[in-house]
């Protein structure tokens, strides 16, 4: 039995005829200590997937299990890092981290909680900035606080939802390096959601494409059989890296193309003016409605 297990998960938003199916028959299992990344278009349902695992929403069908138990709500055994850092602006770096520690370890003494929080602030290299408030920090530093906070509650699994999406390329590279180090040191189970194929390959044990939406489902998983620590520049010369990169990217681009064709056919039927050549395609396509999803 895998540590994280999603079977036959479906999730949609809206009701009755305005319903948009987001995820369709998603099956995923992650072993303990594994780092899996899911790569897909924005709007494909990646955040929905994280929210399901975090227990923020419930699936329409199928089950989400973590450590053998069905997920019914959020819990401290699952830490989440979002793209927007969600820090409290009036608290310092250390206080932001400690707030989570206080919630999860109420029985420990105040000084224990403080030093515990500090340990994680230091782990993300923010020791010198521990007393600063979020507005005094750069985007990259804020995201580090968010990572420290998620790790400080000592979750069984860390869910990372496009953690570096809002950062510039340079800072992203630095933080990817840090995440790689933290993941190796801690051996935590992690699920990384990203739209960057390179990031997915650099960091994970397995990379899985999430096809284009609506009704997105997971594509074939690829094991990233490249020894760690991985260096971005060395990867560049690695034929295994190139191969994985190409196959994941092509899977995604193909799925995007197929969904666009499906949509176009759907539009034609909606407009009640089916062209002869698209008629058969329209008949087989699912009755989906095009509603833009916010990421």
């Amino acid at each position: 039995m895998a540590f994280i297990e999603l079977s036959g998960v479906c999730k949609g938003y809206g009701s009755a005829d305005k319903r948009t199916p987001v995820l369709e028959d998603v099956n995923l299992s992650i072993e303990k200590g594994e780092l899996v990344s899911i790569v897909g278009y924005s709007g494909a349902g990646k955040t929905t997937l994280v929210s399901l695992l975090a227990g923020l929403i419930k699936p329409d069908r199928g089950t989400v299990k973590v450590d053998g138990k069905i997920v019914t709500g959020p819990g401290p055994e699952r830490g989440v890092v979002f793209q927007n850092y969600s820090l409290l602006p009036w608290l310092s770096v250390l206080e932001n981290v400690q707030l989570a520690v206080d919630q999860v370890f109420p029985k420990r003494s105040a000084s224990e909680r403080r030093s515990h929080a500090m340990k994680f602030v230091e782990m993300v290299n923010l020791g010198p900035a521990a007393g600063k408030r979020p507005r005094e920090l750069s985007g990259g530093m804020r995201q580090r606080v968010s990572v420290a906070r998620a790790l400080a509650i000592e979750p069984e699994v860390l869910l990372l939802d496009e953690p570096f999406g809002a950062l510039d390329a340079l800072t992203r590279g630095v933080l990817q390096g840090e995440l790689q180090r933290i993941s190796q040191e801690s051996g935590k189970t992690m699920l990384l959601i990203t739209n960057d194929v390179d990031e997915g390959i650099l960091l994970s044990d397995r990379i899985i494409p999430l096809g284009a939406g609506p009704s997105a489902s997971l594509g074939p998983a690829t094991t990233v059989d490249i020894e760690r620590p991985r260096d971005r520049k060395e990867l560049n010369h690695d034929p295994r890296f190139r191969h994985i990169r190409l196959s994941v990217l092509e899977y995604l681009l193909e799925s995007g193309k197929a969904k666009r064709a499906e949509r176009a056919a759907q539009d034609v039927t909606e407009a009640k003016a089916p062209l002869p050549e698209t008629k058969s395609q329209a008949a087989t396509s699912k009755p989906v409605q095009i509603v833009e999803l916010s990421p």
Binding site: Y41, A169, V197
Partner: protein, 286 residues
């Protein structure tokens, strides 16, 4: 006019007023672009890539230096240069087709409305929106909206297109799709393209030459890299080509060296010795 020197940028400098006097963003920027070439400008945030593009577009004037396009000095915006920004700036109450047609009313004042609609529909179908002509921006995804932006820019038939991080707001996969769309449009029209980007893969995949800019202030051309990957470029073949990865690495290496440079040199940047400036080339030397 010499086709090899379709666009010439000479000793371009731009300074913006700051609290401690003028801040030189770009200095001594020189570049010559041939007609039909695809050139990308790459560099870190704040290096002045967009400043150079705005000057070429005629949206802002240089502090020093000249921009000559097609033998004429650029002093103001004109229909011979199309600009594509990060956000396509569509009118939200108009359909995709109307958004393209409205641009054509300016560019083809003598054409009939049927001709304009035909031209707009043609470009929209070339960007893959043939089925979405009558959709409004709100019904389109971000990637589709930028397709409308590209269709509008190409429909205006400018001699040169200036693209300022056109795919910067899109996720990396949608970005790949749009790069393919851009190359398809270019294949038929062979417009000169000047593209500002910070995406290494994008610049290698699209360009004939990549202009690497040093970090600002006083940014200039650091290196120019030729990309000799055969055209037409298909993603599958390009991503399989070892040359692609060599070029990619060279670019990443340059950007990393500039990052170190900017991190250590920034506090003392105002003291940068003027002696490092390259000798000023005279315009008459052309």
């Amino acid at each position: 006019m010499n086709q090899k020197k379709f666009l010439e940028i000479w000793n371009l400098a731009k300074a913006f007023p700051g609290p401690l006097g003028k801040v030189p963003v770009v200095e001594d920027f020189n570049l010559t672009v041939a007609e039909g070439e695809i050139i990308s400008l790459i560099g870190h945030s704040g290096c002045g890539k967009s400043t150079v593009l705005s000057i070429v577009a005629g949206l802002t004037g240089p502090t020093e230096g000249t921009v000559i396009m097609g033998g004429k000095e650029v002093t103001e915006p004109g229909t011979d240069r199309g600009v594509v920004f990060q956000a396509p700036c569509l009118f939200h109450w108009m359909t995709a087709l109307e958004n393209v047609v409205i641009g054509l009313e300016q560019a083809m004042p003598k054409a009939s409305s049927a001709q304009r609609i035909e031209k707009a529909s043609y470009y929209l179908s070339r960007v893959g929106l043939g089925d979405a002509l009558h959709k409004k921006p709100a019904e389109l995804s971000a990637g589709m909206r930028q397709r409308v932006g590209l269709a509008r820019a190409f429909a205006l038939s400018p001699r040169m297109l200036l693209l300022d991080e056109p795919f910067g707001m899109l996720d990396s996969i949608t970005r790949c799709e749009l790069q393919d769309v851009l190359l398809q449009l270019w294949r038929e029209d062979k417009k000169t393209l000047l593209l500002v980007t910070h995406d290494v893969d994008e610049s290698v995949f699209l360009s004939d030459r990549v202009v690497m800019m040093t970090s600002g202030p006083r940014a200039r051309v650091g290196e120019i890299m030729e990309v000799n990957l055969p055209r037409p470029r298909e993603r599958h073949t390009v991503l399989d080509d070892p040359q692609f990865y060599e070029l990619r690495e060279r670019l990443i290496g340059f950007l990393e060296s500039q990052a170190d440079h900017s991190a250590t040199a920034l506090p003392k940047a105002p003291a940068a010795p003027p002696s490092v400036r390259r000798p000023v080339r005279k315009l008459s030397a052309a």
